[in-house]
């Protein structure tokens, strides 16, 4: 039923074969073809820049004031690539294997292998652009290790890797803007896809400054609009991150796949009060050097540094001796929740665990530095001082950020951390060519569902975003556009554009006419509370059924009682937010429905009914080794399509990190 168009042949030849036989568009014809790229993060900016270089006429859209603000910029830890510069046994196959295993055997083999294949080129490309990755004294690139793997393959730029990669892609994009190949629209939000004769042919946008609706034609439309973690209200996403573009595509026929796969990141700064507007991540790379623990005694009142070693429970090292603190994110998050639920949590809310650097500060870095400086029998204070300097160089910006937010000094006292919503593996269903179920409509990066299965490994999001944008879409879109060269640009006065714009303006007018009593923010908060409590780190059938009813009721209330001040034709952030929250309230229901339908636990989806005696996830490969792709008939009425997942190159096993 769902044709994922995976090429025939051996897994390590598929992509090469595909590229060798894909249809091409000659340079003169590329000039005649227009491509719309919505979203300018890693995936969108790299795609737009590359398509511009190839000669297509590209338009980019972002809601921020510049492409450089896209939330890819906040990625901290690094980007994976199978370079094996460390000579520690890495290879394309190993990256492929780790990613499929990390995704709990719920991702598409062919896509993941392609991702692993192009990963090395990404690093080459970024270095050529002037991305200042961390280097060793010899002048060669440095690597660090991340969760869920046993090699060091993560390239990084301090704790700001996402920023550096995005600015690289952004500069490539701005170069194309300067050359006239790309036209850039900022502070524009896409509010509808225009479909003509079954193909995506354009979009309707709202100029967020003037409030004006505008129509744009494209022979193809590429969505690179990120994930939907903000459906939980509190997440590590940016305040503006939203599902609107993807959701409009879904409502126009694009299937939405595996929405229930949400990644809860284990190391975030805990919530401090009701005022909290977002959560801040502390990079996974910190787990390289920080040890996670809780007191062995319930309701411990002593300060962390006063609790002696033997009264601490390093629960990850205890439960998963071979991976220890570097277990994948889903495992680490659930383990933290388990300890806190059992009453061992720390801090005022008791919803936190310690991430402690003291041991490595002294023993790993302090001692190495001491021996470098020929200090014999150093005392503890000396070791701490020496170790601090090294830690500062590696994670200084993260430690500073922690201190600003909490007012505590993490060099002195352990960080308090707790899991938070971070990434969404689910997204628009795409085939091997990254085309959604709507012809000519593509989805790249976090916005699609493709490569991470049920759980994404650290430092793989940047890899996927750039792989899709730099190395996949430039080939696959040509295969579609080669047949479109005879299509003349469709004037935006066409009835389909007219109708789409009318739909958008109707919805905006309706929102503004409600004039109710409650703010948009209050609805978003309530939605987030339902989602987090009933569809968060642990889910069960009863809770999910309740959640669906509660979301329906909340939606009803929203459309009757929301208050949006200001006017339509002006800069009106409340109106922007209202549209986004309205979409989240529809997505939320689908997310719960998907979670309810998937009667198993896998990766980021944990159903309490399906766990082993030790509390580990219990996967059901017999019934659920498939992608769940949802087709929308009406809001509240979805049809499930399944794409079977076939593993020919990996032996499926229970996922163990013990």
């Amino acid at each position: 039923m769902l044709d994922s168009k995976i090429p025939q042949g051996d897994i390590d030849k598929k992509w090469t074969e595909y590229k060798g036989h894909v249809k091409l568009v000659n340079p003169a014809n590329k000039r005649k073809l227009e491509v719309i790229v919505v979203g300018t993060g890693l995936a969108g900016a790299s795609a737009a820049a590359t398509l511009g270089e190839l000669g297509y006429r590209v338009k980019t859209f972002c809601f921020q004031d510049s492409p450089r603000r896209a939330h890819s910029i906040a990625a901290q830890g690094g980007i994976n690539a199978a370079k094996n510069y460390q000579n520690d046994g890495d290879s394309v196959y190993r990256l492929f294997y780790d990613t499929v295993k990390g995704g709990d055997y719920r991702s598409r083999e062919a896509n993941v292998h392609r991702l692993a294949e192009v990963s090395a080129n990404i690093i080459d490309q970024c270095v050529a652009q002037g991305v200042p990755f961390a280097r060793e004294y010899g002048g060669y690139l440095d690597n660090r290790s991340f969760g869920g793997v046993q090699v060091k393959r993560t390239f990084y730029a301090a704790g700001q890797t996402g920023q550096q990669l995005l600015l690289g892609a952004y500069s490539a994009l701005e170069r194309q803007v300067a050359l006239g190949n790309v036209k850039q629209y900022t502070r524009h939000e896409m509010l509808e896809v225009v479909i003509i004769d079954g193909k995506a042919r354009g979009i309707i946008t709202r100029d967020l400054v003037s409030g004006k609706l505008e129509r744009f034609f494209g022979h193809a439309v590429v969505l690179a609009t990120g994930g939907y973690g903000n459906v939980f209200y509190l997440s590590t996403n940016a305040m503006g991150s939203n599902v609107t573009a993807a959701w409009k595509a879904h409502k126009k026929g694009a299937f939405f796949a595996n929405p229930c796969y949400t990644q809860i990141h284990p190391t975030c700064i805990p919530v401090s009060g009701d005022h909290q507007s977002k959560l801040t991540l502390m990079s996974e790379s910190l787990r390289n050097d920080g040890r996670i623990w809780v007191p062995k005694k319930k309701d411990e009142t002593r300060k962390p540094n006063d609790i002696p070693e033997e009264e601490r429970d390093y629960y990850l090292e205890r439960r998963y001796p071979s991976f220890g603190n570097l277990v994948p994110r889903d495992v680490a998050s659930r383990a933290a929740k388990e300890r806190c639920d059992a009453g061992y949590g720390v801090g005022t809310t008791k919803q936190a665990v310690y991430l402690d650097f003291r041991y490595n500060l002294i023993n790993k870095y302090g001692r190495t530095e001491a021996s470098k400086h020929n200090i014999e029998n150093p005392d503890e204070a000396t070791l701490v001082r020496l170790g601090k300097e090294v830690v500062k160089e590696q994670y200084g910006n993260l430690f500073d950020m922690y201190q600003k937010i909490t007012g505590e000094n993490p060099y002195e006292v352990p960080m308090r951390i707790y899991p938070a919503v971070h990434y969404t593996m689910g997204g628009l269903w795409v085939d091997y060519e990254l085309m959604t179920s709507v012809k000519g409509l593509y989805a790249l990066g976090e916005c699609n569902f493709s490569d991470h299965g049920a759980n994404r490994l650290g430092a793989s999001a940047l890899m996927q975003g750039l792989a899709d944008g730099y190395f996949v879409i430039p080939y696959t879109i040509g295969n579609y556009l080669a047949d479109e060269i005879s299509v003349k640009p469709i004037p935006t006065s066409a009835p389909e554009f007219e109708a789409a714009e009318k739909e958008v303006s109707g919805r905006i007018n309706k929102l503004m006419s409600i004039k109710g009593s409650k703010s948009v923010e209050s609805f978003h908060k309530r939605l987030g509370k339902i989602m987090w409590e009933k569809c968060g780190m642990a889910r069960n059938a009863q809770g999910l059924q309740e959640a669906i009813q509660e979301i329906k009721a909340l939606r009803e209330e929203f459309w009757n009682d929301v208050r949006i001040p200001g006017e339509i034709n002006e800069y009106n952030p409340e109106l922007d937010k209202a549209g986004r929250v309205a979409d989240f309230m529809e997505l939320g229901e689908l997310l719960c429905l998907d979670a309810l339908t998937r009667n198993e636990s896998c990766g980021g989806h944990f159903r309490e009914e399906y766990q082993t005696e030790e509390g580990e996830a219990n996967r059901d490969d017999q019934s659920f080794q498939h992608v769940a792709a949802w087709e929308l008939k009406n809001v509240g009425d979805w049809t499930l399509h399944k794409e079977a997942l076939v593993y020919e190159n990996i032996k499926i096993a229970a996922r163990s990190y013990k």
Binding site: S46, D65, S66, P67, R69, A70, H71, I73, A74, K83, N121, I123, D124, Q125, V127, A128, Q129, G130, F133, A134, R135, E136, Y137, G138, G139, Y140, A157, Q160, G162, Q163, L167, Y170, S171, A172, E174, R175, V177, T236, A238, M239, G273, H275, Q276, S277, T280, L281, D400, M401, K404, I405, G407, E408, Y470, F471, S519, E521, P565, E570, Y571, P573
Partner: protein, 254 residues
């Protein structure tokens, strides 16, 4: 750290759009926790305004973790407020005392016209980058990443200038509304790397030219920009830009 609550008086710049004149409005906010971020305090105020059927205050913000560069409030006479090396979103209320009056203004510069309230248009920065803030390399024409070793010192220096988030605090703090710290950060990053070498002269000339075209002022080396830069980019990069520009001007054939 002791938590406490506070009541504050806020004087906030309100301006309907670019064309209309702005003015200050005074607001009182109550029960603000010292644990809140500055923007969360604004969230509270805006919720109150919505409840009173008034228009909330427009301000730019997005990531709220100090890296996107979107937030841009001029707080009590200083961009991003009293803390050093901090963006507005990372400024927390424990920086203030109960009963204080806080004045909040937008970035003010000819090159950053106000869009609404505290929101300004910083697209001039994009155009400066478009003038040459890149290495002209197409996707695919690359050599192995480790083919050219780069000294760690230079790589680290390039990184520390590449850390610029493009927030515009440097312009806001400068008495001349100069964008030299921003422009020089990009010129420096690329001048420090071997990949940037082939275009370094053209880049310096073109980016400086665009910076002037956009209506930013010139630099008088007061150092206000580096004092307020959330990413602690230093005057060293401006000096490097001056050097790059001088040598580019000497060898240029135009």
């Amino acid at each position: 750290m002791e938590h406490y609550n506070m009541n504050l008086t806020l004087k906030v710049w309100r301006q309907k759009n670019t064309k209309e004149k702005g003015h200050f409005e005074t607001y009182n906010v109550k029960g603000i926790s010292s644990e809140m971020s500055f923007l969360e305090m604004f969230d509270v105020l805006n919720e109150d305004l919505v409840h009173e059927n008034k228009e909330p205050i427009a301000f730019d913000h997005d990531c709220r973790e100090g890296i996107c560069g979107m937030c841009s409030m001029y707080i009590n006479g200083r961009p991003h407020g009293p803390w050093n090396a901090t963006t507005t979103c990372q400024l927390h209320m424990r920086a203030f005392k109960d009963g204080e009056t806080i004045t909040v203004e937008p970035w003010r510069a000819q090159a950053f016209p106000v869009i609404k309230d505290l929101v300004v248009d910083r697209s001039a920065f994009d155009r400066i980058i478009q003038a040459g803030g890149y290495i002209s390399v197409n996707t695919g024409v690359t050599v192995d990443a480790n083919a050219t070793p780069i000294s760690k010192v230079n790589a680290d220096k390039a990184f520390s200038t590449a850390a610029c988030i493009g927030c515009g605090a440097c312009v806001a703090a400068c008495k001349n509304s100069s964008a030299m710290l921003f422009t020089s950060a990009k010129i420096s990053q690329l001048a420090l790397l071997p990949q940037g070498e082939p275009e370094r002269h053209k880049r310096a000339l073109d980016m400086v030219h665009q910076m002037d075209e956009e209506g930013f002022g010139s630099c008088t080396n007061t150092g206000a920009c580096e004092a307020v830069c959330p990413k602690e980019i230093t005057l060293e990069s401006i000096a490097r830009m001056n050097r790059e520009f001088l040598s580019a001007s000497v060898v240029s054939e135009d």
